[in-house]
């Protein structure tokens, strides 16, 4: 389908596009946790891009980070050491988990990025936490203004909120195409669309998604049907897993990745007198990641997705050394099993070679469900 091509190009061309952006004398700011209030970066006229790892080995990072550290964080840091992110004017990390807090020190001490910022992210959403995070958001805004000699006005923030909410709404519309009995879009295609939006200007992404939606209904060559699966996990920064699943008879119709459904599920309240407060509030109130105290809300999100998207099974896909998701895993597994869903639990070391051992298990799982069905 032709309307998908620009998303793929944005993905494969992302570093070049970011460098292009810089040529207009506008900064590029890398972020890596979906609790980073992106709207504030956008309102500063910079290009926010999510920092990802790559799927090669992490030899450079291994010299500094131990093998029991988050393999996603290690992979991102490896990309930084290799120079993939030398164009960044700033890198923004979040205190959302132990791995992130400590990886921040790594970037400060060993990367070439000139400005590095750490946002203090509460692990709860009580009123006290909201007040604290509002202040943190204000500090972050002031830091951006100071560092990049710019001013982030309320009207710029309002504009950012409008663009980001629009982005979330469009992502959701496309996501829901997978709810149909015969999905109009595959999991791989969805992820290409979603991921590209994390590294390209949101306005442009919105235009591309609208165009895609116009053409989607009349698309020819529907994706190959497969067993409807939900993948539950932390972050996903590449399409390889979903491609693998969909190459052996599965179809990823739903997920609870922070770069997947958790990314667009909740909007910022529009038209608030204090747009910064509204932005900050959205992040603490969104469908929680496992580092937040409200774990039951995340479980509810997963189980409801499983029902609404009528999945046949769940793959729990854990990136190695992600403590908070590993602690949640046994209980979530039990909840899903209690719904009568088959569950496959996998731990993955973030790299292409990490997939090798998983393929047979995924294949066997899909065959097993297929046999019962």
């Amino acid at each position: 389908m032709e309307a998908l091509q620009p998303f793929r190009e944005a993905l494969s061309n992302r570093h070049e596009a970011a460098k292009q952006w810089k040529r207009q004398n506008r900064p590029v700011i890398g972020w890596t946790c979906t609790y980073t209030p992106e709207e504030i970066i956008y309102a500063s006229q910079a290009l926010p891009v999510m920092v990802w790892g790559s799927l090669g080995e992490t030899t450079l990072a291994d010299a500094y980070m131990p093998s029991n550290s988050c393999s996603f964080a290690r992979s991102c840091f490896n990309a930084a050491l290799r120079g993939d992110y030398d164009y960044l004017d700033a890198f923004v990390e979040s205190t959302s988990c132990d791995n992130r807090e400590k990886t921040f020190d790594m970037w400060v001490n060993y990367s070439k990025v000139p400005n590095i910022y750490l946002i203090n992210t509460p692990h709860t959403n009580t009123e006290n936490a909201h007040q604290f995070f509002h202040r943190e958001a204000a500090k972050f805004k002031e830091w951006l203004e100071r560092t990049f000699k710019t001013e982030i006005s309320n009207s710029l923030l309002d504009d950012a909120i409008r663009v980001y909410n629009e982005n979330r709404n469009l992502l959701r519309k496309i996501y829901d195409l997978k709810m149909r009995k015969t999905p109009l879009i595959s999991g791989t295609e969805y992820l290409e669309i979603a991921l590209s939006g994390l590294v390209m200007p949101k306005l442009e992404h919105n235009v591309l998604m609208s165009k895609f939606l116009e053409e989607a209904e009349s698309r020819s060559g529907l994706p190959r049907e497969g067993l409807r699966l939900l993948v539950s996990g932390s972050v996903m920064d590449n399409i390889e897993l979903v491609k693998l699943i969909e190459s052996v008879g599965g179809m990823v119709v739903a997920d609870d990745w922070c770069t997947g459904s958790r990314y667009f599920w909740n909007n910022v309240e529009h038209g608030s007198a204090d747009p910064l407060e509204a932005v900050a509030r959205r992040y603490l109130n969104k469908v929680p990641s496992s580092f937040m105290f409200m774990q039951e809300e995340r479980f509810k999100h997963v189980t409801e997705l499983a029902k609404r998207f009528q999945v046949d099974g769940v793959i729990m896909f854990l990136i190695k050394y992600c403590d908070t998701h590993m602690f949640d895993a046994p209980h979530l597994r039990d909840k899903l099993k209690a719904m009568g869903l088959p569950v496959l639990y996998l731990e993955w070391e973030h790299s292409m070679s990490g997939f090798a051992g998983l393929k047979t298990r995924i294949e066997a799982f899909i065959e097993m469900i297929g046999g019962v069905k």
Binding site: S69, N120, F132, E136
Partner: protein
Amino acid sequence: MTAVDRGLKSTSGFYRNYVKKSYEEAHRAKTEKRPVAWVSSTFPVETLQAMDVIPVWPENYASVCAARQASVELCQVAEREGFSRDLCSYSRCVLGSVFGYEKNLPEGGLPKPDFLAATSSACDTHMKWFQVASRLYKAPLFILDTPYNIGGGDSEHLDKAHVEYYESQLNELFAFLEKQTGSKLDKYKLSHTLALSDWTSRLWTEIQDLRKNVPCPMDARDAFSAVFFMLCIPGSQDAVDFYTQLRDELRQRAKDNIGVVENERFRLVWDNLPLWYNLKVFEYLNSLGAVAVAEVFSHTWTGSLDPEKPYESLARKYLPNMANSTIQRRVNIILNLVKNFHVNGVILPTNWGCRMMSIGETIVKDIVYKKLGVQSLIIDIDSSDWRIAGEAQVNERLATFLETLT
């Protein structure tokens, strides 16, 4: 002239006299229907003590199980229940003891909590682990969300917003405690507890300072036992009494030049945790002429408390905890220890299931060498799971490192 005497009178029989007793006391409290709470590392335990709640420390319990060689078996129980082997061994060990498959648990197991209190300050792992326990026991859990000490400053150099957020949650905490215990907070009792905790901190600091003496009068093995009071029950008369006795004994030893080894060839700083299942490693170091004269662990739990400003001073005591701070804080602590304790080598043990203790040791190593010319050894271990690194392997790494220092 130096005399050698390894055994301290104060710490002789420490486990039996104090640790074991604390578990017996907690079990008795339970039968007497007094409130018992599970408390996580770096939680402001003084608040519970002031409300007559009996605190028990799952983290301490894991180290007890490891010392009794029971931890791996319990970890395996948790692994069978679906908890990844890469998770913190403390948490696996304690959760393993909760599922109820093992009958002969050390100290009869942990008493069932009436409620649990955890904070994100030491790590997110504690909070997640306590969530699991809270669900298993159907007991309420209070979580104190500690902002991360980004500046890495000490208690005098903290972000005001962090202190205020912490204080606001102490209000929530006391409301929770009043509900759980059915009694009102007695402000006088809180002041009294804080005063005792402050005194405990000062005594513990004096004790550590005495170890600057050459020869060092106390080894890491004793310190890792004796820190129990500082860590678990700081706001108590028992803590003050014990530390007074220990300080006096060390003063005398320093005066008489009594040390742990004959000729101190190596004075070491030991970071993070020991191998609880193999505390003999410190004796092995002694046999090579080495003494661990300072543990970073012994230098991160103290903090002065002002009974006149209970909330603010609790915030200022707990916020700058090393685990809750950027790496600069750990680096500064170690630089000071190396300088002030006449140290010529640093041991940086990582901890397999612990990100806070594992990531960043390269930075420590680099900076300590650059600033002071002192070498460090990063050694991959686990505090309680001996499957990660065996005794012979650890001893060999240590011995090789010491050779490079000569």
